[in-house]
C-alpha cells in the first residue's frame, strides 16, 4: 500500500516513516523542511519504497501537485507547528502550519478520492481542565493556546470531511512525545542549556508543571496497530502511566549528563508560558481496552530520551 506521511521529516514523522517501511508499506514523505529536516530521513532514502518530496502542505497548488503525482491510499497527517511556546506570540503560525495544512490535505483527499487518514491531535484541545480526568467524551473543549485551537479546528474539519466523503479517519490525542531525534521541548532545551552551561539551569514556571511524556516508538506502534480504522472517525486519547514534573526532568537530565549540584533558577508562576497547561490527568482506558498500552512510563521515556540523545541522535 502506498502511504503518504505529511510532516514526514519531523520528529514523529521520521519514526513513523521508518516503521511504515519496516511493515512493508511504500512511503511518500512530504515535508516543507520548516521544522523537519531532510537530514532526518537521509538514512531512509536508499530504501526503494521511500520517496522524499519537498512541498508546503498549506499551499493548495503545491500539495495538489503531490497528490496528482503520487496519489496515495493512506495519508498520515503530522504536519503542524509543534512548538506551542513559539506560536504564543504569533498565532498566524498555527493558522498556516497547523490548520491550513489540515484543510488542504483533506481537500486533496476529497478531490483525489483518498479514503484513509491518520491525524495527530493533542491533549491541548481540552484546554486547562486540571481538575478533571480527560477522556474522549469530555465536553466543553476550550483550548487556551493557538496550537490547541488549530488542532481542535482540524478535528472539526476531519469530522465534516469524513462524513461528506466516507473517509476512515483515525485521530490520536497525545501528550508530549519524546525520544531519539527530538527537535524541541523541555527535555531538548535542558540538554542543550546544560551542555553550554553545566552549573545552572533556568526553568520556566515553578517547575511543578507535571505532564505525561510518551516515548515516540510507543506512539508509532499505536498508530500502526490501529491504522486500519473503520469508516467514520475513530478517536483515542493516547498516553502513558504516570507523569513527570519539570523539576524531575531537570534532575534526570542532570543525572544522565553526570552533573552534580546544578543550580535551578525558576522564573516562577504555574505555567511555563501563557497558554501552557501546567498539568492534566488523562484517561486512557479506551485505547487500553482496544488492546494497546505503552511499554514505557513517563519517567522512563524521559530517561531513555536523554540517553538516546546523549548518544548523538539529538538533531538540531
Amino acid at each position: 500500500m502506498k502511504t503518504m506521511v505529511v510532516g514526514g521529516a519531523g520528529f514523529i514523522g521520521t519514526h513513523l516513516c521508518e516503521a511504515l517501511l519496516n511493515n512493508g508499506y511504500d512511503v511518500i514523505c512530504v515535508d516543507n523542511f520548516s521544522l523537519g529536516d531532510s537530514d532526518h530521513v537521509n538514512h531512509l532514502i536508499k530504501n526503494a519504497g521511500f520517496t522524499l518530496i519537498e512541498a508546503d502542505a498549506s499551499d493548495k497548488t503545491e500539495l495538489d501537485k503531490v497528490f496528482a503525482d503520487y496519489t496515495p491510499e493512506y495519508v498520515f497527517h503530522l504536519a503542524a507547528n509543534s512548538d506551542i511556546q513559539a506560536s504564543a506570540g504569533n498565532p498566524e503560525v498555527e493558522y498556516k502550519n497547523t490548520y491550513s495544512t489540515t484543510f488542504q490535505i483533506l481537500d486533496c483527499m476529497r478531490r483525489y478520492g483518498v479514503k484513509k487518514l491518520f491525524f495527530s491531535s493533542t491533549s491541548a484541545v481540552y484546554g486547562d481542565k486540571r481538575d478533571e480526568v480527560l477522556d474522549e467524551n469530555t465536553s466543553n473543549l476550550s483550548p487556551i493556546s493557538y496550537y490547541g485551537a488549530a488542532k481542535l479546528g482540524s478535528e472539526a474539519l476531519i469530522s465534516a470531511f469524513t462524513y461528506m466523503n466516507d473517509l476512515s479517519s483515525l485521530v490520536f490525542r497525545f501528550p508530549n512525545v519524546i525520544g531519539p531525534g527530538l527537535t524541541h521541548g523541555v527535555v531538548f532545551d535542558f540538554m542543550n542549556r546544560l551542555a553550554i552551561e553545566p552549573g545552572k539551569l533556568r526553568i520556566l514556571g515553578d517547575g511543578r508543571q507535571t505532564k505525561p511524556y510518551i516515548y515516540v516508538t510507543d506512539l508509532v506502534e499505536a498508530i500502526i496497530q490501529f491504522m486500519d480504522a473503520d469508516k467514520g472517525v475513530t478517536l483515542y486519547n493516547i498516553g502513558v502511566d504516570g507523569a513527570t514534573s519539570v523539576t524531575s526532568i531537570a534532575d534526570i537530565v542532570a543525572e544522565e549528563m553526570g552533573l552534580k549540584d546544578v543550580k535551578y533558577e525558576y522564573t516562577g508562576g504555574e505555567g511555563g508560558w501563557k497558554g501552557d497547561v501546567p498539568r492534566f490527568k488523562y484517561c486512557i482506558d479506551k485505547v487500553h481496552k482496544a488492546g494497546w498500552s505503552a511499554k514505557y512510563t513517563s519517567d522512563e521515556a524521559v530517561r531513555m530520551t536523554v540517553r538516546a540523545n546523549l548518544g548523538g541522535s539529538v538533531r538540531e
Copy 2:
C-alpha cells in the same frame, strides 16, 4: 461606543446594525458584498453614526487597514458563508469566508487591543445528534457539514484568543434565522419558486426535516441584551419554542401567497442534501434562565417572514 459589525450588510447584520444605531451606538459596517449587499444598508447611510466600509475580512491587509482607520471597542463578527447547501460541493468557501474571517478578525483584535467580541455560531457545530437534547455541555461535537466545521473551528479560535488576550466574548449558537430581508434558505426558495410556478413545488428530502426557526428581531434583541459579557467566553444556545417541518413551511408559504392545490414533488431521503441535519432538539434553558426568551414561536416566525417578504422586503 464605537462598534464594528463584520458582515454587517448581510441578512442578520443589517438588522443588528439598525438595532445598534437605535441603541445609540456608532456602527462601522464592514462587508465584502459577496452575500451582503450595499442596498441592504442604504437606508442607514443617512445616520451620522453609521459608516459603511467595503473590505474582505478574510484578507489580512484589507482588514488591518479597517482596524487601523476605525479601531472599534466592540466587534460583532457575523461574516460567514451562510448557505450551507452551497458549500457542500466546495469546502474552500467555508475555509475562506467562515474560518479565515474569524482568524483575521481575532488577530486584528489582538494587535489593536480590542477586547469585546460577539460571534454568531450555529447548531451545526453539534453534527447529527437527532436523538439527543443539545445543550451547551453536549460532548463529542461532530459537525457533518463544512459550514459546521468552520464554525466549530472558529469557536476554538475564540477560546484561545480570549484566554491569551483577556477578551470578553459572547458566542450564540443559533438555528435557522428568518425574517424581513432574507437572502436564502428554504422559506426564501419556496417563495421564489412558487412566484415563478404557482402550481407545483419541488421539495428537497421527504419534507419531514423539522427545525426551529427564529425570527431575526428576536435574535438581535438577545445579542443586545447580552452584549456586555464578562471576561472569558460566554456561550448560549439561542432558540425558540417549537420547530417547523419543511412541508409545514410549504403549506404556510402557499397559504400566505393565496395558492391552493400546490403539488409537492419530494426529492426523497431524510436530509435536504448531504451535510443537512434533518432534525434536532435544542435545550435553551440556559438563556431562558439568564432572562431572555423569544417572542415568536417557530411557526409564527415562518408566517411573519412570508408576510414581511410578500410585502416587498425580500432582497435579492
